[in-house]
Amino acid sequence: MSPRFLFPSIACLICASALADDLKIPPPAAPGPATGLADSAALRATVFGTPAKDIAPLPDKVPLLEMDLKLPWARPVPAVFWFDRRLRVWFSAKDKPAPLAIVISGTGSDGNTAKLSTLRAVLYGAGYHVLTMPSPTHPGFIVSASSTGVAGDLLQDGRDLYAAMGEIVAHLPRKVRITDVDVLGYSLGGANAAIVKSIDASEHKLHIHRALMINPPVSLFATVGRLDKLYAITLGNGDAGIEQFYQQLYAALANLYRESDRVEIDEDFLLGAAASVLKTDAQFSAAIALTFRLALSNVFFAGDLYSGAGVVIDPQHPPKVGDSLEEAARVLRSKTFAEYFTRIFAPYYLAHRPNSTVESLIAQNRLDVIGDPLRDDPDYYAQTNSDDLILDSAELAWLKKTLGSRIVVYDHGGHLGNLGDRQQVADMLEMLAGRWRGGAP
């Protein structure tokens, strides 16, 4: 389901719920930030994405090939992950020689999200072969392509991605002729893309030309700390907050449905309802925090299973096919990114990376591990928004200072709330083509 047309529907549905509230008009949304982490406009843009009317021109038809790969170095697949045994990527081929754009998904997402579909369309329309890949934090990637099973380390994930890309490119259909290779990604995928280019600079296997980061984080642990805070402020700790949020959503959905004339809950109803039931900044924040938390549950579960940490999985008796995972899911809902770091990530990497410390692990998960190439190599680019909630002002300043004229910062859009709009796409294509000369945001 594409959320992009949710944005304008919010007005409609707030009004619809006003009708349900005995024809009282709701007070306007508070203009300032409710959580202190992002303002109302940024939160709404983040949840609803780019309105369809603002999307850049798209081609009529984009061919699509799904590729399921068994990587030679893949680890044995745990029974409970039987369905993730192959790495699944999507490829759209031009029928003449063309540059290849490899696009990496955001946190926890697969290689065929609505955002990737938009990027695929505009890139294909601009003359690229397009390969879209899951995030290294997507369970499908962790199981089929990760060499550790413990996701979230920029360098290790970058190496795994790079190896997977090499294997994929080697197995593309024979008639495909590639003239150049660029790599890009959004959110965490943006940081992954830059790391992959830096690895290629020394390994020269893919000959990656340009890398583009769209709304990237700067410090992984500062960002996830911010998301933990967002969750704690809006949903609290334990199950009580999440239960209350769920009850609010359930009641709002049920009331909307009863007032509608529908026979069943379908996609159109949910599109509108999603916009209606989220009214306050706190609710928007909760929805964002919860989305990231559910992605974390998968990463946490896989990391626990592969590292044998024993947080929710007994290493001696791992779950089998058919076993209930309800209790694990319930426990993981209340686990923070910080706990993932202290209980899974840090113990694993401290044991496997000689001379490392907790501080060094945190430092290695900042974009400044590739600060020099970002500063000196003219083929790194970035696009972000001044109100992106995954960055603070110091991090944004660092990005601007490091990339200079090779970053464009838009005033509004929150986190990815303008991905696919005309300006973002026009600038993206200029950057990837090497025609970017800087410009007013």
Binding site: S9, L13, L65, L69, F83, G140, A254, R258, G322, A329
Partner: protein, 299 residues
């Protein structure tokens, strides 16, 4: 028999061990999809403007008299618990896994092939089965006491079977007779039957005990009525297969695209809540906005 069993085992067991498998998917149509999204946005905006206009009016005496007709609102405390009743969990998980493997090995490749057929052909097939399903909808709307909807289904069936050439064309929708199928599962819900435990039905997917009974009854009804002798004999298998492929091709869902080990729990959670909300809508239907005396006609 043994040969069939081994073929099936090979298919469901993931027969291909080569490094890469290619699945040619139907091409995406971004421009048309975005145009449709823009149209949806405009519809929603227009509706928003209308509702805002209504909301800005002062309540009148009519509003007070209309109030008692509105049902009590669902309150957050009315929400069912976060946990879901699933006494057949082990069997359900097994069936879910079977369905996922069957989908991957058979349904999805066949549905993808089917989606390469010209659009008018697929629309014709879809309309044809939709038209046959109207018979079940007429019966069940009648059993539910929703005669207006029953008449609408009857009208659709009459128009589409004749002017729509045996149901291949949905002519009725041009006359504002929009398709709204129902079945015996909904009838049981209307009669007050609780959904019962979550149930994953082989090849079909997530349901509940009540949904399973409803599905069986719907098939039984079709078998008994046996329109044009389509539901008995060899042709019923061919018809059932094409119907299943058509339905699958129209559902935008891939098992385990989330990659999540908790997909079963997530689907179960969402499905049962959807069912309960639809039940609440059946039992306490509000006064439709368009017949609300507080809203002037034509708004």
């Amino acid at each position: 028999m043994r040969r069939w069993a081994s073929w099936l085992a090979l298919l469901l067991g993931g027969c291909a061990s080569q490094t890469v498998q290619f699945h040619r998917l139907p091409p995406e149509t971004p421009a048309a999809d975005n145009a449709a999204d823009i149209a949806k946005e405009e519809t929603l905006m227009a509706a928003a403007a209308t509702v805002a206009k209504m909301a800005s009016r002062e309540p009148t005496a009519g509003a007070e008299s209309a109030k008692p007709e509105l049902p009590p609102r669902v309150m957050p405390a009315d929400a069912p618990p976060l946990t879901t009743y699933d006494p057949w969990g082990r069997l359900n998980r097994f069936t879910y896994r079977f369905n996922a493997r069957f989908d991957e090995a058979v349904f999805v490749p066949v549905a993808d092939g089917y989606r390469h057929l010209p659009s008018p052909a697929r629309t014709g097939v879809h309309n044809f089965f939709g038209n046959l399903a109207e018979i079940d909808s007429i019966i069940n709307y009648t059993l539910q006491g929703r005669l207006g909807r029953g008449v609408r289904s009857l009208g659709r069936f009459a128009v589409n079977s004749t002017l729509g050439i045996g149901g291949l064309f949905d002519v009725a929708v041009k006359w504002q007779l929009v398709r709204a199928p129902t079945g015996f599962g909904t009838t049981l819900a209307k009669w007050g039957m609780h959904p019962g435990p979550f149930l994953v039905i082989p090849l079909y997917g997530p349901s509940t005990l009540r949904g399973g009974i409803g599905l069986a009854a719907d098939y039984g009804t079709s078998y008994l009525i046996n329109v044009a002798d389509l539901y008995r004999g060899a042709q019923s298998w061919a018809l059932g297969t094409v119907n299943a492929v058509d339905q699958r091709a129209n559902i935008d869902f891939r098992y385990y695209s989330t990659g999540s080990p908790f997909e079963y729990e997530t689907i179960r959670f969402l499905f049962v809540r959807k069912q309960l909300i639809e039940d609440a809508g059946l039992h306490k239907a509000a006064v439709p906005a368009k017949s609300n005396p507080n809203i002037p006609a034509g708004e």
